[in-house]
């Protein structure tokens, strides 16, 4: 393809609004609107409108929180790790991945506030100087959460923004009026000389290393919310690496799905080719085996140790009320991807999408199975209780998935989804 044809193809979505796009936006807006309504009910009436109760003090909101932080590792993996290893095939995929990271973090960040009893006072967790000389508790894993996630959001936003600068300059030239002025401002005076290109590449390399470290610390800290406590089957040393590995796993799955969707919707077949899907598929296969290893390690240890309180939770998951969920999770996270991707004859974009969808479902169930059965079966058996999410929690959950799609729909109209300059750097990549 000629350079002009490439630019034309990648920037075409920005200039027109199609009917399917509008319809999708409307559907998403409706779901987000329903979620906002549910939130308002919760704010006005109290947390009692959820399904939470004694002893299940954490539920769907925390499950979603961990899930979305996990998805955010898509960008970190692709952009950061593949940048550091100089994998050329990453180029058309980086911005898609980085956008997934930023948007899923924005959504994840809602939940710690949403699940608070007194939401308007969430800022007390931030160490702001105040008249009462009160600091937050630095020993609390929730404080570490706040530090880690805000750092990650800031870093991801920058990591997404920096490589958009050359594209903003190009967009400024090709648009007119108000749009052109906005793009021009966002391009920070980019003229594309050698010095600036070198600076950009160097900045991205440094940033890739930094954001990798931040991402690992973030999901470890989220894991510490559980593993630092003494609740049965939460107090496990494997949680930090388990969550990081699971995050990379679900991040790749989300990326494959988003890529397949964009390729279809924006007709990017020339840019997002089989090579990219194949490589991501192989990464997904690797992570599915790693996931199995960590999961088997965790459950085998719990079972062999036979500690009383842990076994109550263990049995609930393996053979009790949550057994159908547990084995569905194993099927979705291991068997489906292992077969559909492992057997090369079966591997194609469709089966990759099926595997990815399965992995996203399986990973959501995994988060659910981490949070809920443990809280239902506390140390003192007399305090046990069952958790059923209410319509408020379910509506908000659905709304956040719609919000993710909505953010992506809007993003694809403002910025080319494949970094034009990255593509032109290595068109055969």
């Amino acid at each position: 393809m000629t350079s002009d044809a490439v630019r034309e193809a990648l920037m075409r979505p920005l200039w027109r609004i199609s009917r399917p796009w509008l319809a999708a936006v409307l559907v998403c807006l409706t779901m987000v609107g329903a979620a906002l309504y549910a939130w308002s009910v919760q704010l006005s009436q109290g947390m009692g409108v959820t399904g939470l109760r004694r002893p299940n003090y954490w539920g769907l909101y925390i499950v979603n929180f961990v899930f979305w932080v996990g998805i955010s590792h898509a960008g970190t993996l692709i952009s950061a790790i593949l940048r550091l290893t100089d994998a050329g095939w990453r180029r058309p995929v980086t911005r898609v991945a980085e956008a997934i990271t930023l948007f899923s973090l924005m959504i994840a960040g809602i939940f710690p506030i949403l699940h608070l009893g007194r939401e308007s006072l969430f800022y007390w967790i931030i160490p702001l100087p105040n008249d009462r000389l009160l600091w937050p508790n630095f020993r609390s894993p929730l404080f570490w959460d706040m530090m880690a996630i805000t750092t990650y959001v800031a870093a991801s936003a920058l990591f997404l923004y920096l490589p958009m600068i050359p594209d903003f300059a190009m967009l400024a030239e090709r648009s007119t009026g108000f749009k052109s002025r906005v793009y021009r401002a966002l391009s920070l005076g980019w003229i594309g000389d050698d010095r600036q290109w070198h600076a950009l590449e160097r900045a991205m390399k440094i940033f890739a290393g930094v954001i990798l470290a931040i991402a690992i610390s973030v999901h470890s800290v989220v894991a510490f919310d559980f593993s630092m406590g003494i609740a049965p089957m939460w107090h496990s040393t494997i949680f930090a690496p388990y969550f990081v590995a699971g995050a990379i796993f679900s991040g790749i799955a989300a990326l494959i799905l988003v890529m397949a969707g964009l390729r279809r919707a924006l007709r990017l077949d020339a840019f997002l080719r089989w090579k990219h899907f194949n490589n991501l598929g192989k990464l997904l296969l690797t992570m599915c085996v790693v996931w199995l290893y960590f999961t088997a390690s965790e459950y085998l240890t719990a079972w062999y140790g036979n500690e009383h309180a842990e076994m109550a939770v263990f049995n609930k998951k393996i053979s009790g009320e949550y057994a159908p969920w547990f084995w569905t999770m194993v099927a979705c996270n291991f068997f489906v991807p292992f077969i559909l991707i492992g057997v090369e004859r079966l591997r194609n974009v469709t089966t990759l999408c099926i595997s990815s969808l399965g992995v996203l479902l399986g990973m959501w169930i995994e988060r659910f199975l981490i949070v809920v059965p443990t809280l239902e079966t506390p140390h003192l058996a007399a305090a046990s209780g069952l958790y059923y999410p209410s319509w408020v929690e379910l509506t908000i959950t659905a709304g956040t998935f719609a919000a993710m799609v909505l953010l992506y729909l809007l993003f694809s109209k403002l910025v080319p989804i494949i970094a034009v300059w990255e593509y032109e750097h290595d068109p055969l990549g």
């Binding site: 109290g46 002893p55 003090y57 009893g117 969430f122 009160l134 937050p136 929730l142």
Partner: protein
């Protein structure tokens, strides 16, 4: 003229604790009712109770042994154990719960933002959350204890060892220029127990009734192996 000497006010430090004799407890739950009325705990109502929202700072857990007709029931009143190394304290991100210098695990309602992490980390599951604004149907709204604040929706609460009674006892002793005597301060539950199964007092005073009971051969701690160092001693005949 000789200066008048004042006796020292209340002895510092206190270390408040309880002893509960499970061989005396009949499971009548008078203590639960007393706790409700002393601490302004609203009843949840049948629908909310069915959803698991019944709020009792003190629960009397029932354990059944054997099968009919040889069935035995054991009762164990469980409230906040005011652990010396409470797992709930380090995890609160805003310091709404901490250990005061009299050995109480205090819950500061005004500071709590409602993350509910403390409740998850309590192995005794004695912490409760205010799911809605508290409401009392008339005329129950006229029997509220003015010494105890009404908690707003969204904050955690739990047994405080009737801290308002502790304060009242210490103030009374100070006014009378004497020390707090064992038996001056009684928690609502201990006061209402018809079997005198619950004793509250100062564990740092070796002569107090609670200290003597805590030293008995029948005394043990709940979930002692977790190392939280609870201060409620349960007395029962060893099997």
């Amino acid at each position: 003229m000789a200066e008048e000497t004042r006796t020292q006010p209340t002895r510092q430090p206190h270390s408040w604790g309880m002893a509960i004799d499970l061989d005396r407890c009949t499971g009548c739950e008078a203590c639960v009712v007393a706790c409700h009325s002393e601490n302004n705990i609203p009843t949840a109502g049948p629908e909310q109770a069915a959803l698991g929202r019944a709020k009792h700072w003190l629960t009397v857990d029932r354990y059944y042994e054997g099968a009919f007709p040889d069935i035995k029931v054991k009762y164990r009143p469980v409230m906040c154990q005011h652990c010396e190394e409470a797992p709930c304290e380090p995890v609160c991100p805003v310091y709404a719960t901490y250990h005061n210098d009299e050995g109480l695990n205090v819950q500061v309602y005004n500071r709590c933002v409602g993350t509910r992490y403390c409740a998850n980390n309590c192995p005794y599951t004695v912490r409760h959350f205010n799911w809605f604004e508290a409401k009392w149907e008339a005329p129950l709204d006229m029997q509220l204890n003015p010494d105890v604040s009404i908690r707003e929706a969204g904050v955690m609460e739990k047994c405080s060892f009737c801290i308002q009674r502790i304060h009242r006892g210490k103030i009374a002793a100070k006014e009378e220029e004497r020390e707090v005597q064992d038996g001056d301060i009684q928690t609502a539950c201990a006061q209402s127990c018809p079997a005198e199964a619950m004793v509250f007092g100062d564990l740092s005073d070796p002569e107090s009734k609670v200290s003597k009971l805590a030293g008995s051969s029948r005394a043990g701690l709940l979930l002692e192996e977790l190392g939280a160092k609870p201060k409620v001693f349960y007395l029962e005949r060893a099997k």
